[in-house]
Symmetry: C2
Subunit: 137 residues, 2 copies
């Protein structure tokens, strides 16, 4: 990672998932919790409507690391996530990354990972990741 | 959670994902890192073959919490994951859960979450989760 990112680097990526994405995510992972799929069930929960799987929201970190920042050759070592607020289909979000430290010898970097609602700026996921640059192994 | 699980409870769930699942996961999340999709690319990495997305492997925690243990009404507050070894399509895994503490007042539980290779017993993901029982809110 040392070669691709440095301490203090930041990256922001806007995204949104549809209810169709939520259904596909439920099918592939097997997580058919009705709070994600069944509008009548969800209406009776504290959320009042269907919410996205936390893991679908958090998968944006995996997408960005693996394909954009730093991209190809990046492998996950660790991801911590705190789910601070529900996330909803079709709402606009941004994922914000900040490199907090780099271990040049081990080709690893620690990165804070956050998701925010674009409109309100409210944070929906906080966390930290450690990623490895396999291009240099 | 206090009402559904208690300290010391354990749960084990066997699972496997196919390369077709990996492709679907890449499509819905947008994580098209070629180490998961392109056999020729993967052959040149330290893994020598295509590996599963860490987030797909870890999604078993979300599935189990949301549908099996404790199931319906469970919501994620937190998930930490350390990716200890690569995971491969069609290999047999088991997810192992142990309830480490319960906060009856807040309806929350802390649970260690682990994935192991069934054959070797080697651990591929370690971590801990905090889950909330919304049925009692």
């Amino acid at each position: 990672m040392a070669e691709l990112v440095k301490e203090g680097d930041t990256y922001t990526h806007a995204f949104s998932f549809s209810q169709e994405d939520v259904v596909k995510f439920a099918e592939v992972t097997g997580d058919k919790n009705p709070v994600h799929l069944d509008a009548d069930f969800a209406a009776k929960t504290p959320f009042k409507q269907r919410i996205m799987h936390g893991f679908l929201g958090g998968s944006i970190f995996s997408k960005v690391f693996g394909t954009l920042f730093p991209g190809e050759g990046t492998i996950y070592m660790r991801q911590e996530m705190k789910f601070m607020r529900p996330m909803y289909p079709d709402a606009k979000y941004e994922a914000v990354f900040t490199v907090t430290s780099v271990n040049a010898e081990k080709h690893r970097a620690n990165v804070t990972t956050e998701v925010k609602e674009v409109e309100s700026g409210k944070v929906t996921i906080t966390g930290e990741a450690t990623v490895l640059n396999t291009n240099r192994l």
